[in-house]
């Protein structure tokens, strides 16, 4: 098909670069520099979509991101992208677009019957209906509503494209590159400021690309070119086209999205589709221009009704005539240039309809010269036609009615400054009576607004305003420079006279076209008391669609003001929430998705473990070896049983490097640790280690671990894997904020050490081959809870601790992390003669439960030291963090659930974590709930399942039989309450 509506000689598109595309499967051709909307118009396509509620035919209203109607599904398959505005989608070769929300086809949409039912589907009708019978909501009514909901469809598959994140810092950020923005940028950049200039379009220039203007004797387009060329030559300037500043955040931070590859079919390899920018600016000039608003009249949503400024954009920027015969409907002087442009594009202008009683003579003259009929004090009451405009019914002064044939109604109800970004930080817009528009109110210190966004509309004043703002911003950012000269341009006033809606409309008159909110809906909201602007919005959904009401909010507000006979500012304001225009979710996530959602932390023995065939488990950021299957072992339980049995009978090695490790040095280190642990640490001998517990200030257990002392002023402590960061932060708080007078230095050294537990009756034999002579690891020389610095494997500096989590004779041996893999390999090879096994987190867990040691499930942020059976550890000779508040009655209550052990009565039965305890013959109800199982494991050492749990009056129930109920799994098990140490309760094995 040929581009029947393309106008020869007009427009900035590159006619040497034709681009093929399809819409609803029909092939068309456009040019480089087109948007999808301009290319569709060029091909004479007017009907582009169906509306949300009534499925009314819709076309193209605007030429920008405020578009409410022309939304399409762009691309296909995994790249399918719903609700893309055809007016901002840059045309590329091979573009595929589909219309939305229609069945079976765009021109024949069966759901347009909704339009006939519209007397029922009034605003908020669902709040009054669908209540009977109650059970029908989820089954009948809601599925029906949900079938009709939404516009486009999300892709069915994972988004295949890459998203990038970037940061930028600048002295001055200029948002928008129209006349004000460009002048601001030139001013600030010439002053030497580091400058970023953004524009949401692919081309810089803003309105200058769409209007016929003269600046300093050259065309506006030429002036844009020369300005951009100057800016891009400056090293202190970063130009970001295709970049939308979507939000202003605190301290001069802005969020922006750059559409890096949305203008190609598929990004090239490694190239992101979009990039999310964090821009930190010392000063910001908002120059986002203004948005023209429609006037509300009957059938004002028909394809062919278009904003006058959009008509000019299509003609001047894209070289497209959006119609053949036009009626211009306006309340301001800007209409004059629309007429000129239409005429130049060869469009017949049938009439100028101006709501003002007297139109300036100059305009009338210009119109009459072209033979255009002028209706003063008149309005277009209704658009005629179905799937496209065929005429306009004009109601003139004294109520006379005229019908004029046309296929385009160019409408202008005045201009709303684009001040959304200025309200993101709480600024309230001010109503400006003369402009009949909201202008920016109070702004952050670092923000100014220039040009049309500031309510300054003529070209000359935009240039001047921009120059002033750019200069002021540079000065505020610390640059000393003279003001830039302002180029010359005409100063044409706009002279808006407020006019909101046409009373004489016979047809549905839309306020919010995308959400199908009509003037009648606003009246109904008023009648029912939803009069505050927020109630209006929420009750009717006015302004809640994907365009966020850019063309409807102020009109709706004005309508409500009329109805309530209040002024517009007394009725409300329109403040916006980010984003300025919708932003892909993928852009916010960047690369942090899939396996890269969070970083992965690897232990020093990771490579070895992988080689060994370990199964890994996510533990916080860590990947840890969960167990090490041998060839032929298919069942994880078999593997874990073997690992446990081998440790209990021979020797095993487990990577425990994930423990948090902290060095505490200084002359007051002991004193300091006394204050953070509940037990005494200052009395710990050099070369000894001690188990310790820390509380939060509220008296609840925070973490447990060990402290070893290597010198009077040198301790080394460990934390649990999960709490490493939290404990470090807490210790720094104690050091810097609570007790700055203490001489203490804290060093996080978690990553410095590879640390392995070597456990089992044969551990000593194995270690003897690892530690360098003459270090003596005999029981007498290096007893339980000893700690030493030594060398291993012929000269590697290491540390040895005689600690046992497993309950066996055990050591933890540490070497600098780079030697970690070597040490693990040595332990394995030297351990062969002892039948060594590596063991993972599962076996570690089994053995700690067998021993009754508490861990994460018990240290859950609600248990006290006493609850954990460690109350006696608390020293009474000193204060420590959490001591005072742990004595509150609720925490000191002896009836609180405490940790105790459980065995199944039927020894073959399985125990379940999360089961609740009920007295044996009691009913399973909340009143009889005695506690719950925290940790369970199958104990190969005992041949049955064992569990730990928190139980009311735990000690006095030892020997009692309880029911462990697990309704969500449908299981009930009889359990016996037993002391929590199942295995070697006396601790004989770990002292040998």
């Amino acid at each position: 098909m040929t581009q029947t509506s393309r106008v020869t000689g007009l427009g900035l598109v590159d006619r040497s670069k034709p681009l093929d595309f399809t819409f609803d499967g029909v092939p068309y051709t456009g040019y480089k520099g087109d948007t999808l909307a301009s290319a569709l118009l060029a091909n004479g396509v007017r009907l582009v979509g169906r509306s949300f509620k009534y499925h009314r035919p819709r076309g193209i209203l605007t030429a920008g991101s405020e578009e409410p109607n022309a939304l399409v599904e762009l691309r296909t398959g995994a790249r399918r992208e719903p609700n893309t505005r055809a007016t901002v989608a840059e045309l590329y070769s091979g573009l595929e677009a589909k219309s939305q929300n229609r069945f079976p086809s765009l021109s024949l949409d069966l759901l347009s019957i909704n339009g006939l039912l519209s007397p029922v589907f009034s605003a908020g009708f669902y709040y009054k209906t669908f209540m009977w019978p109650a059970s029908f909501w989820e089954k009948v009514y809601e599925p029906m509503i949900r079938r009709a909901a939404g516009l486009g469809r999300a892709a069915n598959e994972a988004d295949p494209d890459i998203y990038d994140k970037a940061n930028a810092f600048c002295d001055v950020l200029v948002i928008g590159s129209g006349p004000a923005g460009l002048m601001a940028a030139l001013s600030a950049a010439r002053a030497g400021a580091r400058l970023i200039l953004t524009d949401e379009s692919f081309a810089f220039g803003g309105r200058l690309l769409s209007d016929v203007t003269t600046i300093d004797g050259m065309s506006g387009v030429e002036w844009v070119k020369s300005s951009i060329s100057e800016l891009s030559s400056l090293p202190n300037v970063r130009l970001l086209p295709r970049t939308t500043i979507f939000g202003a955040y605190d301290s001069g931070t802005f969020g922006a999205v750059e559409r890096v590859a949305d203008h190609v079919a598929v990004p090239s390899a490694g190239e992101p589709r979009q990039r999310l920018w964090h821009i930190v600016a010392k000063q910001t000039v908002v120059a986002q221009g203004s948005t023209e608003r429609p006037i509300i009249f009957g059938n004002n949503d028909r394809p062919g009704v278009m904003l006058a400024s959009a008509v000019r954009s299509y003609i001047n920027r894209f070289g497209v005539a959006p119609g053949q015969t036009a009626v211009v409907f306006s309340n301001n002087d800007d209409a004059a240039s629309t007429i000129d442009d239409l005429v130049r594009a060869g469009v017949t202008v049938a009439a100028l309809v101006d709501t003002r009683a007297s139109v300036p003579e100059a305009i009338k003259l210009r119109a009459r010269k072209q033979g255009i009929r002028v209706f003063e004090g008149a309005a277009v009451a209704d658009a005629l036609g179905g799937q496209r405009v065929s005429g306009a019914r004009i109601v003139a002064a004294y109520g006379t009615s005229h019908t004029v044939g046309c296929d385009l109604i160019a409408v202008s109800g005045g201009f709303n400054p684009n001040l959304q970004v200025t309200t993101h930080l709480g600024g309230r817009p001010q109503w400006h009576e003369n402009l009949a528009a909201f202008v920016p109110g109070a702004l952050p210190k670092w923000m100014t607004v220039a040009g049309a966004a500031n309510g300054v509309f003529s070209l000359a004043s935009c240039l001047g305003d921009g120059a002033k703002a750019g200069h002021a911003a540079a000065v505020a950012a610390g640059f000393d420079a003279n003001a830039t000269a302002v180029p010359h341009a005409e100063d044409e006033p706009i002279n808006v006279s407020a006019f909101w809606h046409v009373e004489a409309a016979k047809h549905k008159a839309f306020v919010d076209q995308q959400n199908d909110v009509t003037a009648a809906d606003v009246r109904l909201a008023e009648r029912e008391g939803y009069r505050s602007v927020e109630h209006l919005k929420r009750y009717t959904t006015l302004g809640m669609a994907t365009d966020q009401g850019k063309t409807s909010n102020v009109n709706g507000l004005a309508l409500m003001a009329e109805l309530t006979k209040k002024s517009i500012p007394a009725t409300g304001t329109t403040s916006a929430r980010p984003p300025y225009s919708p932003v892909s979710i993928g852009a916010f996530a960047g690369e942090h998705r899939g396996k890269h959602f969070k970083p992965t932390r690897l232990t020093p023995s990771h490579n070895w473990a992988k080689e060994r065939g370990a199964v890994f488990i996510e533990a916080g950021m860590w990947l840890r070896a969960q167990y090490f299957p041998k060839p032929g072992e298919t069942d994880w339980q078999t593997v874990v049983n073997r690992e446990v049995t081998t440790v209990r009978s021979g020797v095993g090695v487990c990577d425990v490097s994930t423990l948090g490790k902290i060095e505490i040095h200084g002359t007051d280190a002991g004193k300091f640790l006394d204050r953070v642990y509940i037990n005494m640490m200052s009395t710990l001998g050099v070369g000894k280690a001690r188990y310790g517990m820390m509380l939060r200030e509220d008296g609840i257990a925070m973490d447990d671990g060990t402290a070893a002392r290597f010198a009077d002023d040198r301790y080394f402590i460990t934390t649990t894997t999960a709490n490493a960061i939290k404990v470090l932060q807490h210790l720094e708080l104690c050091r810097q904020w609570y007790w700055p007078e203490l001489d203490v230095q804290i060093f996080p050294v978690s990553d410095q050490w590879a640390q392995y537990s070597v456990a089992g009756p044969r551990a000593r034999g194995l270690l003897a081959k690892i530690v360098d002579a003459p270090f003596d690891i005999s029981n007498s020389a290096f007893p339980y809870m000893a700690a030493a610095e030594l060398t291993v494997l012929s000269g590697i500096k290491g540390r040895l601790y005689r600690l046992s989590f497993s309950g066996e004779l055990a050591y933890e041996i540490a070497v600098p992390a780079r030697h970690g893999e070597l040490l693990m390999r040595k332990l394995m090879s030297e351990g062969e003669e002892f039948g060594v096994t590596p063991y993972g987190t599962e076996a570690l867990g089994v053995m700690r439960i067998e021993k009754g040691h508490v861990a994460g499930p018990e240290l859950n942020g609600t248990t006290t030291a006493a609850d954990l059976g460690l109350g006696k550890m608390a020293s009474t000779k000193k204060d420590f963090v959490g001591r005072v508040l742990s004595q509150r009655p609720g925490l000191a209550d002896p009836n609180r659930p405490r940790v105790i052990g459980f065995k199944p009565v039927d020894r073959s039965a399985r125990l379940r974590g999360g089961a609740h305890f009920i007295a044996k013959d009691a009913k399973a109800t909340a009143e009889n709930d005695l506690g719950y199982m925290t940790s369970v494991a199958y104990s190969p050492s005992l041949g049955h399942w064992v569990g730990l749990g928190l139980l009311s009056q735990a000690e006095s129930r030892v020997g009692e039989i309880l029911t462990a109920v697990d309704p969500v799994r449908g299981e009930t098990t009889l359990v016996e309450v037993v002391p929590s140490a199942f295995y070697d309760a006396e601790g004989a094995r770990l002292r040998v």
Binding site: P119, Y127, W132, R153, Y163, P579, P582, G594
Partner: protein, 420 residues
Amino acid sequence: MFRTDHYSIFSVLAEALRGQTGWKPAWRQAAPKSGYDIVIVGGGGHGLATAYYLAKRYGTTNIAVVERGWIGSGNVGRNTTIVRSNYLLPGNIPFYETSMKLWEGLEQDLNYNAMVSQRGVLNLYHSDAQRDAYVRRGNAMRLHGIDAELLDLNAVRAMYPWLNYDNARFPIKGGLIQRRGGTVRHDAVAWGYARGADRLGVDIIENAEVTGFRIENGRIAGVETTRGFIGANKVGLSVAGSSSRLAAMAGMTLPIESHVLQAFVSEGIKPFIDGVVTFGAGHFYISQSDKGGLVFGGDIDGYNSYAQRGNLPVIEDVLEGGMALMPRIGRVRLLRSWGGLMDMSMDGSPIIDRTPIDGLYFNGGWCYGGFKATPAAGLCFAHLLARDEPHEVARGYRLDRFRTGHMIDEKGMGNQPNLH
């Protein structure tokens, strides 16, 4: 003719014939009288529900609800609309289940369709420890007679086959679902309660900001407002987000901090998410509204704030979770984000209690739980105001529980509100 003060399909159809012109305001624009038996400060969901239940169940109708701006302008109008009673601790479970039951009959009770939609709330787990923690919770719910089901991986896959199962940093292992949980059209809750209370004679006074309390001999006498003094025998504060400021006017310091929670909605797309899904390995939960918007949220921004807006890092954190869980939504666009002020209490659970000032009562500290609690908070606060004793399901929500050490700490985070 069908009466327009009773909503039904018949009244709507009848009105269709005359252009929907017969409707009356859903609530009157009341002017303050000189005095009331009870003044509720705060025309949010809780305040309006309190007034409604006081009038409906406790027979007190000489009540005013005093609202600074427009009703429903607080958190009832700025949340992610989720209702559920899948709580862990005995101090919370019966309360939230009471709320759930009230939700279930709300439309018929109010004759206002708030679109209570029980499409299920699914909490995903990603490790054995997390599974057992959810099992503990599910079992606690079941012991209270509340529905809870443990789903294995296959069952989750059957429900949501397009979640990220194969390339996840923290693979999904299963989930705990409360099928009775779901969503409610949030604004409609405020409007429905307002209309219900109004019809029972309650005065709803908008645009009246409380500027002080008149306290005589340790007893409340009324409230000073921008629309004049309003006398009251009893005053109930239900002003989440402003609790500390109002309490300070009465000379009280509360165990509460104000934090901002951001919420998000996408452009409307054809529905594909039936229920509520909560990611167990990141800060992200999501549902899809009946208009097609994806409604989602995450954690609070983490610092004290009275500004109803948040910052970028949390937005990114939430959406990283979103993409990690649902990689198909990458090209769906975020339409709007906003911030709500959370009354974060020091243990993450709310307060409904008398205050040291005779006749002054407090309802607040709801953290994230305020919306889903609306009906029960209204009922329990009404009970307290009417009977001067706590409702049996809200007995634990005492103001002095921190002093006595009886915290109700679901997350085990201690006295750090930004972590709850």
